[in-house]
């Protein structure tokens, strides 16, 4: 008999006097939502910005017409000599036309340029699938266009977030985006990102830039009137 069979046999042999009903998680959150005051778009944006600031992330409101130039100026100000990005995203064309120096596409398998990626790239740019206002959290699903290390290895992470995709809570985001449903199965890797990497492992003193990015800058796409 294998370890698997022995473990399962022991588990199946255990008494089961109580069989709890499946928990109604969505019902729970619906009831919690009724207790709270509710929020509109403006409040959600304010909440997201406040929470993200708490994580040491920076949020810069931009518009569809201005974001690429804002990014270009940020790169100059932060002396970014090489900005890594993913091709074939809905925003790639605008980015490529923005005149950003050192723009580098992540278009090869990591295996052939791992050392360069770790040593020579100053910043990475990714799009996002949305965000969570309650906790100041970006939702990032890496894929073939925007690989996993794009938001991890470069010391600065620029993320573009559409304010229309701002959800109140994690459960609302999961439900609205249908995570794990047949039409939207879970990707190889899905991420929630709340601020730059950090650690409190030395005398509970927070230090940013533990292993991942030292800075996280969110370009928040809002309407002209919301700037």
């Amino acid at each position: 008999m294998s370890a698997r069979e022995r473990i399962l046999r022991r588990l199946r042999a255990a008494p089961q006097s109580l069989a709890p009903l499946p928990p109604d998680v969505c019902g729970f959150y619906a009831a919690e939502r009724k207790r709270s005051a509710g929020d509109d778009r403006t409040q959600r944006i304010a909440r997201f910005c406040g929470q993200m600031a708490g994580w040491h992330g920076e949020v810069i409101p931009v518009t569809r017409g201005s974001w690429a130039q804002t990014l270009r100026q940020l790169c100059i100000a932060k002396k970014v000599g090489s900005l890594l990005y993913g091709r074939n995203t809905p925003y790639a064309k605008v980015l490529e036309d923005a005149g950003i120096g050192g723009l580098t596409p992540y278009d090869r398998p990591v295996d052939v340029w791992k050392t360069d990626l770790f040593r020579d790239i100053d910043a990475g740019f990714t799009t996002t699938r949305g965000a969570i206002a309650e906790t100041g959290t970006l939702i990032v699903w890496p894929d073939a266009n925007e690989p996993r290390l794009l938001s991890l290895v470069p010391p600065i992470h620029f993320a573009l977030l559409d304010a229309d995709q701002l959800h109140g809570t994690l459960i609302e985001a999961m439900t609205a985006q249908g995570w794990g449903a047949a039409a939207t199965p879970m990707p190889s890797n899905a991420l929630l990102i709340s601020g730059p990497s950090k650690t409190s492992d030395i005398q509970v003193t927070v230090a940013y830039g533990a292993h991942g990015p030292k800075e996280l800058i969110v370009l928040l796409l809002v309407g002209e009137g919301e700037l």
């Binding site: 294998s2 698997r4 399962l8 998680v25 398998p109 996993r148 994690l170 899905a190 990497s197 292993h211």
Partner: protein, 479 residues
């Protein structure tokens, strides 16, 4: 690092070590300061106690529901992971788990394994097994890296190096990290670790991680972290091996947010961690990074023993937040190393008897004042004090009828204790005898010895009153 260098101490010598720990003012200050900080941070996250109670009730429900379906969920998880291209392995104990991981490493001719934080791999002592096989196992969580560098074990499940001051860490880095000069700046110390470990992420063939939640329905492994080392270990090397206890599985993705929200708030008082990393597949065709192979090792190591008993099964509800240790007056005074177990504090006291047997751990359930702080803060409502009392009984008595004996059942049974408690029970259940004995004790009070073993080391001697309570009450009524 050789195995013999580990300062890991046998759990059986717990009582001796506590004496040394409470006599160490630096250690006590480190823990007191850190625990006060963590308690305050947690409290600030839960301003509304009614809301917290609703969340705890839901989290407990999810954990109880998941455990009630554990064998089915494990099979579902295995099916789904396999369909997603992730290989699943089962291990009954630490040696089996280590052998599986060493086997995977050897198949890839690996020389270096980078490790994200995994308490289960501490439980199996994986590092020693890897070293024995000639493969370097390097801890990459900053706290874990620090304790490994000093040949120690973590003293806290969330904050492994909490027992160390920054001066001690500064000295350690200056001595052991090539090229590092002495600095007490926390930012600089972290910078030194970052630079060194980034080189290792690049060259490692294998990355190891733990798992916080495994979702059966979607075949998703969830990892909670702040540093990004977990993401490095699971995304950069060609092979990712995850290891977890069999109890970590939940049925649906929607079961994760309530547990995750309570985990981070209870652990470090953060509304969320920097990263929540959900892994469902290895690198897919067209993808440019990510591991080409992903494995999951499911570890039993005593969990099925806890599962076999419905009261002890509640131990497995644990989501390893560490709040019970942060709030434990005993843990705060003796620190994590005194326990000599992978999991210190209240959770260790109720879990280690299953993973290690009562023969070496029977003293642990006694390391509690039963104040109940642990159960009050536990986000999944594990009745820790009740379990401690239960295990004290199991450590000193044979299994009650209808219950299978635990490993090491009755290991702490002592003839003297049985005689004393037997005599106590006899006296207390016979009124005439009770009156006679107490009468005699009050009349012979002058003979009470002034030195009474450990009691009088810091207290005045116990002495019977002049009259028994019965006599005193009769006298007062007479007045």
């Amino acid at each position: 690092m050789a195995v013999s260098e580990l300062k890991f101490v046998p759990a059986s010598e717990f009582k001796q070590r506590t004496g040394a720990a409470v006599a160490d003012p630096h250690l006590r200050r480190s823990f007191r300061t850190a625990m006060d900080y963590l308690m305050a941070k947690r409290a600030a996250q839960f301003p509304d106690s009614a809301a917290l109670e609703r969340q705890r009730a839901l989290a407990e429900h999810i954990r109880k529901y998941s455990l009630s379906r554990l064998p089915d969920l494990l099979e579902q998880l295995e099916r789904q992971l396999t369909a997603n291209g992730i290989q699943v392995h089962w291990a009954e104990n630490g040696e089996q788990a280590n052998a599986i991981i060493v086997g995977i490493a050897k198949a890839h001719a690996a020389k270096l394994m980078v490790k994200g934080k995994s308490m289960v791999s501490e439980e199996t002592e994986l590092n020693a097994a890897m070293e024995a096989a000639g493969i370097e196992a390097l801890e990459c969580d900053m706290g874990e890296y620090i304790v490994q560098l000093d040949g120690e074990k973590p003293s806290h499940i969330i904050m492994p190096a909490i027992h160390k001051t920054k001066q001690q860490i500064a000295k350690l880095f200056a001595e052991k990290v090539p090229g590092a000069s002495y600095t007490e700046s926390v930012d600089e110390l972290i910078g030194i670790g970052r630079a060194l470990l980034r080189e290792k992420f690049m060259s490692a063939e294998i990355g190891l991680s733990g798992v916080n939640f495994a979702v059966a329905e979607t075949g998703t492994l969830c990892l909670v972290e702040n540093e990004g080392n977990g993401r490095m270990c699971t995304s950069v090397p060609d092979v990712h091996v995850a290891i977890t206890g069999i109890e970590k599985v939940v049925e649906k993705l929607e079961h994760v947010p309530p547990l995750f929200g309570l985990l981070t708030r209870s652990a470090t008082g953060q509304a969320i961690t920097t990263y929540f990393n959900m892994i469902s597949r290895r690198r897919q065709p067209g993808e440019r990074d990510g591991p080409k192979e992903v494995h999951l090792v499911l570890l039993d190591n005593g969990r099925t023993q806890a599962y076999a008993d419905e009261q002890l099964r509640t131990t497995l509800q644990c989501i390893r937040c560490g709040a019970c240790m942060n709030h434990c007056p005993v843990y705060t005074r003796v620190g994590g190393h005194a326990y000599g177990t992978t999991y210190p504090g209240p959770i260790g006291e109720i879990f280690s008897p299953h993973s290690m047997g009562l023969a070496t751990t029977h003293a642990l359930p006694t390391a509690s004042t039963l104040c109940g702080a642990c159960a009050e803060v536990c986000p999944v409502k594990i009745p820790i004090p009740e379990l401690l009392i239960r295990l004290r009984g199991d450590a000193t008595h044979p299994a009650s009828p209808g219950h299978a004996p635990l490993a090491g059942q009755g290991a702490a049974a002592s003839l003297l204790m049985n005689v004393v408690w037997g005599a106590w029970a006899t006296v207390y259940s016979r009124p005439a005898l009770y009156r006679a004995v107490t009468w005699l004790a009050t009349r012979l009070r002058a003979l009470t010895p002034p030195i009474q073993s450990g009691w009088t080391r810091s207290r005045t001697p116990l002495k019977a009153a002049r009259r028994t309570l019965h006599e005193e009450l009769a006298r007062r009524r007479g007045k």
